[in-house]
């Protein structure tokens, strides 16, 4: 049974929350290179390869607010800003639970459909390890 309200789960960049988000997703992957040989008895085998992670998010565009706005993410991408410590937290109030690692803003898209609120979406690419917040 689901017991965490998704509204609580958010992204924190440095010490500031990413604002105006309505959906965020943490993807963690491990590459599994094939290690099958003639001695594998007809079963595929693999080894554990490189790991990577990314966070994707989308929301409703607004340039105001105290925190990280879509405009600030766009400015960070244009300036090729350095990595920041990212948290994908399950406790939006304190950021005391969830996962953390250094990440880089990789893209931001702004969409403006007629007669609907403008939206944005983007992603953060992990640069190095992802670890649980102790």
């Amino acid at each position: 049974m689901a017991k965490i309200n998704g509204t609580l789960m958010c992204i924190i960049s440095g010490s500031d929350k990413l604002l105006h988000i309505d959906n965020c997703t943490l993807n963690v992957n491990v590459n599994l290179p094939d290690a099958s040989t003639k001695e594998s008895s007809g079963w595929a085998e693999h080894i554990d390869g490189q790991r990577d992670w990314e966070i994707i998010f989308d929301g409703k565009y607004d340039e105001t607010g105290t925190g990280i706005t879509p405009d600030e993410i766009l400015a960070a991408i244009i300036a090729r800003s350095a990595d920041t410590a990212m948290k994908f937290t399950t406790d939006g109030a304190t950021g005391a639970a969830g996962w953390t690692g250094n990440g880089t803003y990789r893209n931001l898209s702004l969409a403006a459909n007629m007669e609907t609120p403008a939206t944005f979406s983007g992603s953060i690419k992990g640069n190095g390890a992802l670890a649980a917040i102790a």
Binding site: T7, L19, H20, I21, D22, G59, K60, G65, E115, P117
Partner: protein, 144 residues
């Protein structure tokens, strides 16, 4: 966006009323605009009807979307008699949506989107033999 969930329907009705009241003029006649219908009503009037809505927004704030009705009521029995009410409807639309991107003021709230959705004509037969025609204009709104 508001940080607490609230009922925005009266703010929206009030905003529409402020735009229309005293300004719906058809063939030199000022048409009454009602938020609630007095007894007896005028033979032709504009009524701001029901607000149907739901909640949207982000993880930090609330946004409200749905539909609101603006109704032109008259005592015509046949569609051929509705030239006046259809003309009034045109005036109302022009007042509520003067240009495509512009929305009107809604009290302390921000009206993000206001667009025309559809028109529903309804004929109503009352107990006292008065026949009323209702041209129900339905608008979409997004309000924060």
């Amino acid at each position: 966006m508001s940080t607490a969930s609230v009922d925005i329907s009266y703010d929206l009705i009030d905003g529409i009323y402020d735009v229309l009241y005293g300004n719906v003029i058809y063939e030199l006649e000022t048409i009454p605009v009602y938020k609630s219908v007095p007894k007896p009503p005028a033979s032709v009037y504009v009524l701001i009807g029901d607000v149907l809505g739901s909640e949207d927004g982000t993880k930090d704030g609330f946004l409200y979307f749905g539909t609101v009705q603006v109704i032109v009521v008259d005592e015509s029995a046949h569609c051929a008699d509705r030239k006046q009410s259809q003309g009034i409807l045109g005036v109302v639309r022009g007042l509520l949506k003067a240009t495509k991107p512009v929305t009107f003021t809604c009290g302390s709230r921000t009206l993000v989107v206001f667009s025309h959705e559809s028109l529903v004509p309804v004929i109503e037969y009352a107990d006292n033999s008065i026949i009323r025609s209702r041209l129900i204009d339905i608008y979409n709104y997004v309000l924060e």
